[in-house]
């Protein structure tokens, strides 16, 4: 090697040195993938090109293991489901029309691995990334929600990870002025060492403001704006740096930065306002956020989605470190950056808006004729590639799919023989134990660290079944969103377990009074190289897609996160489902729980003896086996329609979904959240234990004024939804006849003290 420290590995140099050994394996490329790159280019790639291909062809960016399965979503989406979809899978985020000229965009993404390494920054930048995806559609972000999963609540590592993750979600989201309206906190040994930090964002826009990521129009300028580009998050590309700089004083002594990115929410907040002003002024032709793979991704995706080529000068990129190589600049995952395509005549106005918001902006290139992405650095061409080959023509794997024999043993291990409580005393004790358990107790310790009020449009937030925000103050139009996944159900049966997650999120949205309209998913799984994991994945995808087809709502986007495993131990398969619903007027929302005294409490749906994967089996027996509850999506749909009609007519005074922990948990939460007690008679013909703890799906508790019972019961009968009048609201106790009287104070004591006891570390 000649003076490597100063020489740039240009295209010219690559042609001249075809046999130069490159560290492609260290960058995660397989031998055949490297050969394919050489074949595409007709020469060896430059260091910069190698870095681009390596990161864009990674599992995270290319979906190479999941692509063949994800295609099933497209195959199962009908024209009717597409009718209100303005953008779908493949865009930064899906967009649906919601009425009155409004559209809504939403998406959930994972930031699991960074959050394990550095909980605060990992979680914070997870929020930042998904918010930029939403901005890139031309929308104002209006709400966030964070589904979180950790190892056992009392594990030392959970104590390390959870407080940082929660503080990071809050620290970033609160500083952006986005209400956090939902999400989940789940504990299970299956996530020890592999916590899941998923982040969902919703944005609203006028239909005409929709922006898509493409670079068209020869001569249009490429503007990079937002934060400077630094050495953070360059991950694997450092192998190129250390090679390039080997033996050089400046290089070998250079400080290495952590591979987890560091967020600056202030810059992002300003970037949001700046972007919205740019959109409204009509100054943006195309836009793309810089997330994973940074400029490599933004330039290759913008160029391949457009109708021409693109030339970029890396010398124009504002840097915050000295001595960065082209490969590092292209791979940097520095946060809070966006890339826009702007007509030459609009550049001045664009810059003026950026200046108003003190946002750094630089023209870094332009759209060119032809079909190449050409990137220069210090007068030399360091990248010259067909952009599609980077962004879209990555490898596609058909990985082995094989249901493991161990699945048979899991399914055969039914919960039927587990000792069940009997008699009032045992049932009472079990209710209190369940209520205080980590997965069922109050989430206030977490959610009280999130701002749910900012922007003044939040009409429901945690602990409600679904979060709801108003998008139009004049009409009251709003959206609701819920995320769910009982991963134990998915472990027992990935197909129906994923459908149960879909059903629960769908039901939660319906419970709020909104009409479910679209789905996003975050598919968190173990290693795709494990055939059993791929079987779980394939089954879950099919379950979700078939379920959505049956419910008639499209999957508009999402994210796949593989390699959530330690050694041979994969996480519980966790396809988190986010459902978005629309409500014509948020004033007609249904509040959570028992909100008034003297109302009738009605149990909707059918309760069966179903305990496979239940919270009761988990908490009381540490058991996971058997089959999950039966899925009946037609029943879910009937239930949702009944709830929507009830909300629109204003007949429902309160509601609450039945899921983890069954009726007992739903009753306790309805009392504590709504602030009213109740006197309940369990349905005839059901064993009290089954009635209280079964987790049969398609069930909801609602309250109506006693005068409305007959009318609502008639509607339920007409809709084919089973209904039992189980009691009345009111008082300071939850009275379950024949079982127990539980004072709300006692219940609150059990419910509210668990997380503070585990995680409060204040010095008092």
């Amino acid at each position: 090697m000649t003076s490597a420290a100063t020489a740039v590995d240009s295209v010219e140099n690559a042609i001249a040195t075809p046999d130069h050994a490159q560290p492609f394996r260290e960058l995660g490329l397989k031998d055949d993938e490297y050969a394919r790159i050489r074949e595409i280019l007709g020469r060896r790639p430059t260091d910069a090109e190698l870095a681009m291909y390596a990161v864009m062809w990674s599992e995270h960016c290319s979906y190479k293991s999941s692509k063949v399965h994800l295609a099933y979503f497209g195959e199962t989406t009908t024209d009717a489901m597409r009718a209100k979809m303005l953008a779908g899978i493949g865009e930064n985020a899906g967009v649906i029309e919601v009425g009155d000229g409004w559209a809504v965009t939403f998406k959930v993404e994972s930031h699991n691995h960074p959050s394990y390494v550095e909980p605060y920054q990992g979680a914070a930048t997870g929020v930042g990334g998904i918010v930029r995806d939403i901005m890139a559609m031309g929308a104002r972000p209006i709400a966030v929600a964070d589904p979180l999963r950790f190892g056992p609540a009392d594990a030392p590592d959970t104590k390390r990870v959870l407080p940082g993750v929660v503080a990071g979600v809050g620290g970033y989201g609160n500083s952006l002025g986005l209400p956090n309206i939902g999400g989940e906190v789940v504990f299970d040994a299956g996530y020890a060492g592999n916590p899941l930090v998923n982040a969902l964002c919703v944005g609203a826009l006028r239909i005409e403001d929709l922006h898509l990521a493409f670079a068209s129009g020869t001569g249009n300028q490429i503007i990079l704006f937002g934060a400077r580009t630094g050495l953070d998050g360059i991950g694997g590309v450092s192998v190129l740096a250390s090679e390039t700089f080997s033996g050089d004083e400046q290089g070998s002594g250079r400080k290495k930065l952590p591979s987890v990115q560091v967020g600056d929410p202030f810059t992002e907040k300003v970037l949001i306002e700046c972007c919205l002003e740019l959109f409204h002024a009509g100054l943006v032709v195309g836009i793309q956020d810089l997330g994973g793979a940074g400029l490599s991704c933004a330039t290759s995706e913008l160029a391949s989605a457009g109708d021409g080529g693109m030339s970029i000068s890396l010398d124009a990129v504002p840097l915050r470190a000295t001595g960065m190589t082209p490969a590092e600049i292209l791979s940097s995952e520095s946060q809070e950056r966006m890339c826009a395509v702007v007509r030459p005549e609009d550049v001045e106005a664009f810059m003026a808006v950026c200046k108003k918001w003190d946002v750094l902006a630089s023209v870094i290139g332009e759209v060119t004729e032809g079909d190449r992405l050409v990137i220069s650095w210090q007068g030399e061409t360091v990248v010259d590639v067909p952009p599609r080959t980077v962004a879209h023509d990555g490898p596609v794997y058909r990985r082995p799919v094989q249901r493991s024999d161990k699945q048979d043993a899991l399914v055969a291990d039914v919960p039927d023989a587990l000792p069940r409580p009997s008699g009032p005393d045992e049932l009472r004790a079990e209710i209190l134990r369940m209520v205080a358990s980590p997965n069922l107790c109050s989430r206030a310790w977490v959610t009280d660290q999130y701002d749910r009020y900012v922007r003044g449009n939040t009409t429901s937030a945690q602990p409600a079944d679904a979060g709801m925000v108003r998008i139009d103050e004049s009409t009251g139009r709003g959206i609701a969103v819920a995320t769910d996944c009982n991963a134990r159900f998915v472990a027992l049966d990935p197909y129906s377990g994923a459908q149960l997650a879909l059903a629960e999120a769908y039901r939660n949205v319906a419970t709020s009074g909104a009409v479910p309209a679209a789905v996003t998913d975050c598919l968190n799984f173990g290693s795709p190289e494990d055939p059993h994991v791929m079987w779980q994945f394939q089954q879950a995808v099919r379950g979700i897609a078939d379920g959505c087809a049956q419910l008639g709502i499209p999957v508009t986007g999402g994210n796949v996160s593989f390699y959530n495993q330690t050694g041979e131990q994969a996480i519980l398969p966790t396809p988190v489902i986010g459902v978005l619903g629309v409500i014509d007027d948020v004033a007609k929302r249904v509040a959570s729980g028992f909100t008034r005294a003297g109302d009738a409490v009605l149990l909707l749906g059918t309760t069966r003896d179903e305990f496979g994967g239940s919270e009761w089996a988990h908490v009381v027996h540490g058991h996971l086996g058997g089959r999950p509850p039966a899925v009946d999506l037609a029943a879910e749909q009937r239930l949702a329609q009944l709830l929507a009609a009830g909300a629109a007519e204003g007949v429902l005074t309160g509601s609450h979904d039945l899921s983890d922990g069954g009726l007992a948990q739903a009753l306790v939460e309805a009392c504590l959240v709504g602030g009213q007690g109740g006197e309940i008679a369990l349905p005839d013909g059901l064993d009290p234990f089954v009635a209280l703890f079964s987790e049969s799906a398609a069930r909801v508790l609602v309250t109506v004024a006693t005068a409305d019972v007959e009318r609502f019961a008639a509607s339920a009968a007409a809709a084919g939804v089973p209904l039992v009048d189980v009691g009345r609201t009111g008082g300071t106790d939850l009275v379950i006849r024949g079982v127990s009287n539980l004072s709300l104070d006692e219940l609150r004591g059990s419910w509210a003290s668990t997380l503070p006891a585990l995680f409060d570390q204040s010095a008092g």
Binding site: N174, G177, D448, D451, Y453, V454, R455, G456, A587
Partner: protein, 223 residues
């Protein structure tokens, strides 16, 4: 009646404050941090958020923004000024109110519906409330613990300048449960909780917060 609401880079609750002004019946006027112009307003709200990222210290950079030169001068001349949350921090940093706001005792950001006792109903912003009345408004802050040295505290208490006190538990360790205070002339008020989030039961826990915005209409009319 025109009431201005300042937007700094990083301000978050300006839209909410503007809405509260509108609900009160006054005309909301947007004020920009970089301007030396109060646009003819009769009162100013310094809203919540993380102005300039709260870098250096919460409210420190905003307190020397161009618009604040005008606000400080106008306040000294008797113009009613309300600082909410980050706005309270800014008014303390600007020297319009005594004391400081520091990290919550529990070390976490706290978002909750907070009961407050009204201890002074004679300020420009509390005339429509009654002394001793309890109100319910959202609190949401990580650095909301009011502190001051002993002589300052004594003076605040002695002059009846504690306007709001936390009731039903102190959420952040504030000295003497102080949630909000007033200037000597009662025209400048700062508080950590967010009255602008309690103006409509659809989106807040009560409508108690609206009283602050209606109070100032009479205070400016009377001035």
């Amino acid at each position: 009646m025109k009431i201005g609401v300042i937007t700094f880079p990083g301000t978050l609750d300006d839209v909410d404050a503007l809405r509260a002004v509108r609900y009160s019946g006054a005309d909301p006027v947007e004020l920009w941090h970089a301007d030396h112009d109060l646009r003819g307003v009769d009162a100013v709200v310094v809203p919540g958020g993380f102005s300039y990222g709260d870098y250096l210290r919460a409210g420190a950079i905003a307190s020397i923004a161009p618009i604040m030169t005008e606000v400080v001068a106008a306040a000294r001349g008797g113009m009613p000024v309300l600082g909410i949350c980050n706005g309270f921090q800014i008014l303390c940093e600007a020297g319009l109110l005594p004391g400081a706001l520091v990290r919550n005792a529990g070390l976490h950001f706290v978002c909750r519906d907070q009961r407050l006792r009204v201890d002074n109903a004679a300020t420009a912003w509390t005339g429509d409330l009654a002394e001793g009345q309890e109100i319910l408004v959202p609190l949401k802050s990580g650095e909301g613990r009011f502190v001051a040295d002993a002589p300052t505290l004594e003076r605040l208490e002695g002059e009846g300048r504690v306007v709001f006190r936390y009731a039903g538990g102190n959420p952040n360790g504030a000295l003497s449960d102080i949630a909000g205070i007033a200037s000597e002339n009662g025209r400048v008020v700062g508080l950590m909780p967010h009255p602008e989030h309690a103006i409509d039961t659809l989106t807040g826990p009560s409508v108690d917060g609206l009283a602050l915005f209606t109070s100032v209409l009479k205070a400016t009319a009377a001035a």
